[in-house]
Every structure is written in structure tokens, then in C-alpha cells.
Subunit: 338 residues, 2 copies
């Protein structure tokens, strides 16, 4: 499948000739809202555009019902991802399913190497790789991953109809997940290590008023256990150090995310104190020609607020910056110059 996609899309579009080269004006890495919007705008700027991504939709795939993307009310994350993808595919944009492992600037172009062994060449790169979900690192978490331990409530909530489930976290995604899971499960323990929530008041109100949800505050999970699948968790009250066992059929871990900091640093990218790519106005990074957008970005110029609409906007701005960068390089642009 991968081979088919790669060979079918690129070999008839070579610019500089040569059998192995696959040259683009813009290579977008990642296909969440930021990457898809970057590609859409790149194509509208008449730039030869490639998307390399493992999955299309990014974090949308993990989202429940989304009601904060202006103009598309109450839509499932997977449906919104499909709308985005269809929009992007209406343009002449190549999409390759692969994982980028290295990006090197050689002679003024970027060589993008993928896990499959494929190499692509881009005059500019837009990184929109998102961030990675944080783990509890509790005993049993890895062992029962996919067998009761989940990081995606919207994917797995329907599996817990009538069951007892724990949700861990205190932010928006944790509370959203608790609400979603409670619409299936018979009982939800919302486990949070503090006694206050970072989540929006609207979510806190809904959670507090949901009769199926029981708040377990000032508490952490110390172990996840069972036989074939999760059957229990141990929780410790961090004020009293008291431990107790709760019988649950599943655990949803929603404690935030972190960027692939090592990957960024290996590429030579400046990152902020949390490991997010330090962007400048225009979604520029410290590497000329390499731009970044979406959840993977941070730094002093960005208000860290990772929403679909902000990611998509950053993608559009990154595409404009790539376009302007290429315009300065004159000969980089195909077709007539004005």
C-alpha cells in the first residue's frame, strides 16, 4: 500500500529529473488540522505540495464531539477529519503514509527521510507533527495497554457500556473524556491528583452534575492489574498516603501531552523550556525554510492554546511564509514570474 502510494504519486511529477528524486516546493510533515491547512494553503499558492503523515486527522481522531470549530457545530472528530481531508484532496496535493525519521538541509534543499526508506526533497518544510500523549508510568499501564488501558476515550468509550471505568486527569480532555465515557459506562471514577481542575468551568460543572461520575481527588494511580484485561487499579491519596483498590474494567489516561523534543533537537531546532518548537512570528523556526505549526509549536511568541482553529491558522500562516521564502528564491517557483 505504501509502495503503491509513493510510486504512483511522485514519479511523473519530477522537476529536476533523475529516477529517485521526488522534489516539492513544500513538504508538510503531519496531517492534523495544522498540516492539512498548511497543505491547502500551499496548494492555493500554486506550490507543489507533499504531505507525509502516519495518520490523517491527527488529534481529531482521538476527539469526541467537537463544537468549537466555527461553522461546523457538533461534529465527531473523525467526521471533521474526513471533511478536512476531502477538502485537501480536492487540490493537487500528494499524500504519503510514512513516518519521517530525519530531515537534513543539503545544498539549500531539505532531504526528508522516512521509515520506509523513501527520501523526499523539499525546498521548504512545514513541521506539523503535533505532540505525544503523556503516560502515567504506573506498573501494569503498558501491560494492559489496549486491554483496558486507553489513551483515546472517543475510540474506546463505546466498549465500556455498563462497565465501571476510571478516567485520569484534571484538564479539559480528561473531563471531556469522563463525560463521554459516562454516557456509556455505569460508573466513572474521575481520578485527579489535585483538588482543583485546570479544565474550563463549563466542563467542571457538567462533571460535578453527572450522577454517574464520582470525583476521586488528591489521588494517583499506583498500579493497574487484572488477568486478561484490567480488573482493578490501586490508588493512593497523596495527603494521607492511604491506598485502596478500586474495581474497574478500564482506565482512560488523559493527562496531557508532550512534544517529540529529542526529534526536534536532533533536527537542530530551537525548542522552548517544555520542548516545543520555538516559533517566531510567521511560524518561522531558527532554520531558514523550515516552518512549524500546530501543537508541536511553542515559544515566547505563541500563546499556547492548542485548538483546531489555531492549528489550522498556524498552518495557513506557515504556508504563506513558505511561499514568501520561495518567492525570495525566485527560480524556486514553477511557471511564469510576475
Amino acid at each position: 500500500m505504501l509502495f503503491f502510494l509513493v510510486s504512483g504519486m511522485s514519479k511523473f511529477r519530477l522537476t529536476f529529473g533523475g529516477p529517485a528524486r521526488r522534489d516539492y516546493d513544500v513538504v508538510v510533515v503531519g496531517a492534523g488540522p495544522a498540516g492539512l491547512s498548511a497543505a491547502l494553503y500551499s496548494a492555493r499558492f500554486a506550490l507543489r505540495t507533499l504531505i507525509i503523515a502516519e495518520v490523517i486527522g491527527g488529534t481529531l481522531i482521538d476527539a469526541g464531539v467537537i463544537d468549537d470549530y466555527l461553522g461546523i457545530p457538533g461534529v465527531k472528530g473523525t467526521d471533521l477529519a474526513r471533511k478536512f481531508e476531502e477538502h485537501v484532496r480536492s487540490y493537487d496535493i500528494n499524500i504519503v503514509h510514512d513516518r519521517v525519521v530525519d530531515i537534513r538541509n543539503e545544498g539549500g534543499v531539505f532531504r526528508i527521510n522516512c521509515l520506509s526508506g523513501s527520501e523526499y526533497v523539499g525546498k521548504t518544510v512545514i513541521l506539523a507533527v503535533g505532540s505525544i500523549r503523556k503516560k502515567l508510568n504506573a506498573p501494569g499501564e503498558r501491560e494492559f495497554s489496549g486491554r483496558g488501558v486507553s489513551y483515546c476515550a472517543v475510540c474506546d468509550a463505546p466498549l465500556y457500556r455498563g462497565k465501571v471505568v476510571a478516567v485520569v486527569g484534571g484538564g479539559n480532555s480528561a473531563l471531556q473524556s469522563a463525560l463521554l465515557v459516562a454516557s456509556y459506562a455505569s460508573r466513572v471514577y474521575l481520578i485527579h491528583r489535585r483538588d482543583t481542575f485546570r479544565a474550563f468551568p463549563a466542563y467542571v460543572n457538567l462533571v460535578k452534575n453527572d450522577p454517574k461520575i464520582e470525583l476521586v481527588l488528591n489521588s494517583v494511580i499506583t498500579e493497574i492489574g487484572g488477568t486478561k484485561t484490567v480488573e482493578w487499579i490501586k490508588i493512593r491519596d497523596i495527603r494521607t498516603s492511604e491506598e485502596r483498590k478500586l474495581e474497574v474494567n478500564g482506565v482512560f489516561i488523559e493527562i496531557g501531552s508532550e512534544p517529540p523534543k529529542d526529534f526536534f533537537e536532533n533536527l537542530g531546532l530551537e525548542v522552548d523550556e517544555k520542548g516545543y518548537i520555538a516559533i517566531k512570528p510567521g511560524q518561522a523556526t531558527n532554520i531558514p525554510g523550515l516552518f512549524a505549526a500546530g501543537d508541536c509549536t511553542g515559544g515566547n511568541y505563541k500563546k499556547k492554546f492548542d485548538q483546531i482553529i489555531t492549528a489550522a491558522a498556524e498552518g495557513a500562516i506557515a504556508a504563506l511564509s513558505a511561499y514568501e521564502y520561495l518567492m525570495k528564491e525566485k527560480e524556486s517557483i514553477e511557471g511564469p514570474t510576475y
Copy 2:
């Protein structure tokens, strides 16, 4: 109508009591993509939200078919505005049709005065007032405004079926307008004072390949004339100073826009060299509690790229900033504190 809207919406939502006070956590001024997104997010933050705007949709109303708002391909500007409005109206958000004439900070709250005489009070304000279309300032322009002179191709293009029309400008909106008008008119002169276009290459290509569009470069309009409606324009070649008359039935003026700089300066807002509100990360202005989003903003921290998606993102970020500002003020928030 105005009176009905104002009195019908606000008087039953008073917070501090008193017959004339209308108090909100967030008053959003303007209802384009930035203002509507700001209101949507404000309401999702459980803030009492008021929109004051003359028209709903902002520049969308003037737009043709929009294909760059990710997820909603090929939509008419007016239809996209309606989608946005419906989404916003699904929340508990008041919308008042009025024009804001003054905003004063008194005792830690903003008093917002409107043309109708109404006054509203907001703990925070989000300005999303957009910018104003530039005029040619040619003799006859004002006289024939609405009688052949138009600043809104999408509104008026259908009136010129089979007619001869001039479009003035060299940017994206001018070329988009020329293409749109050419789908109705028998002939379109695209008049531009330079011999190169600022517009995206995709638009330039389309314009150059459209048999109905004739490029009139290095030229400016010196006069617009007619009897009841526009019948001719005079254009001057700026290299040769040669003047000639072109018979046209209409003139679309698409030479960009400018912010209401005087209004901003009267409010005490710092503006950039072009008169746009100088924003800091988080859409903050120099006035605490007053945020700004969309086309009316500029400054060193903003890449000036006024798209629907960027305006909507800025609105969302401004709402987050307003929420955080109110959170710091503690007692400002209704309901339980966490």
C-alpha cells in the same frame, strides 16, 4: 428593530441590578470571523457574552466563493457567514445591532457607548472591528457610489450581466473580483497602477487566461463620469501621462483596506505604523482587559495575513486571554470557583 433587539435581549440578564445597566464578562465588538469566534469561545468559557455589531459576517458578506476555510470547501461568503452565525447563536450569546462610538475604562470596567445611545458594561472587551475599504478619491467616485461604483464585487457583480466593467487593483481581492465579474460581464478592464501583481500566482494565471479580461497596466483612474449611472472612466498611463476614456457601465474598486486608526487612537490604543492595533502574544493590547482580533490587528508580533481562519483563531485566543484575565480577577466569574 434595533430597540427591540436591545431591550429584548439584555434587560433580563442583569448581574448587578439597576434598570439601565447591562453587564457582561466579555463584550465583543464586531461580528466577522474574529468576533464570532471570540464570542463562541467566550461562551464556551462560561462567560456572559455580548456581541455589538452593525452587520453579522464582516468581510464575508463581500466575499465571493470561499475555498480556503478548511473543512468547508467552495462556500459563498454569505453562506459561510450564516453558518458562523448559526453556530454562535446555538450558545447563550446576546447580539445587538449597533455601532460602538466610544469605550471608556471606568473603575476597572469598560463602558461601551453606541450610536443608538445605549451603553453596555463589560469587564473585558474584544475588538474585532475589521478594517475599512480604501477609496480611489477620484472625481465622480463618491457621486456614483452605488450607481456604478462598487466596493463589493460579490454583492454587485450579477448586476453587470453583459455589461462592460472596470476593476481596479492588483492584489488578491482585485483579481478575485475581476474573475467573478468576468463570469457575468461581457468585458472586464483590470486597471492596475503597476505592471506586476501582488496577487497570488494562481489568480494571476487565471486572470491572464480569461478571454473577457483585458489588462490595463501602469494606469490609474483620474475621473469617473456618466449621467444617472457610470458611463465612462478616464484613465492615465503613468509612464506616458497619456489619458484616454473607456466606456464602462461600472467600476469595482478593490485597492485594499485600512483600519479605523483615529477610532483606535481615541480609545488610547497603541497602533502600528499602518494604524492597525499593535497586539502582543495572546491578542493583548496596551490596555489591560482590552483584546483585539482579526483584520484590525497588526504590530510586530503578527504576521499580517488576514484570512478567515487566522481571524477566527485570533478571536479564540482573545477569548482565552479574556477568560484568564477574568480568572485573575477572581470575583469576576459567576458560579462556583475551583
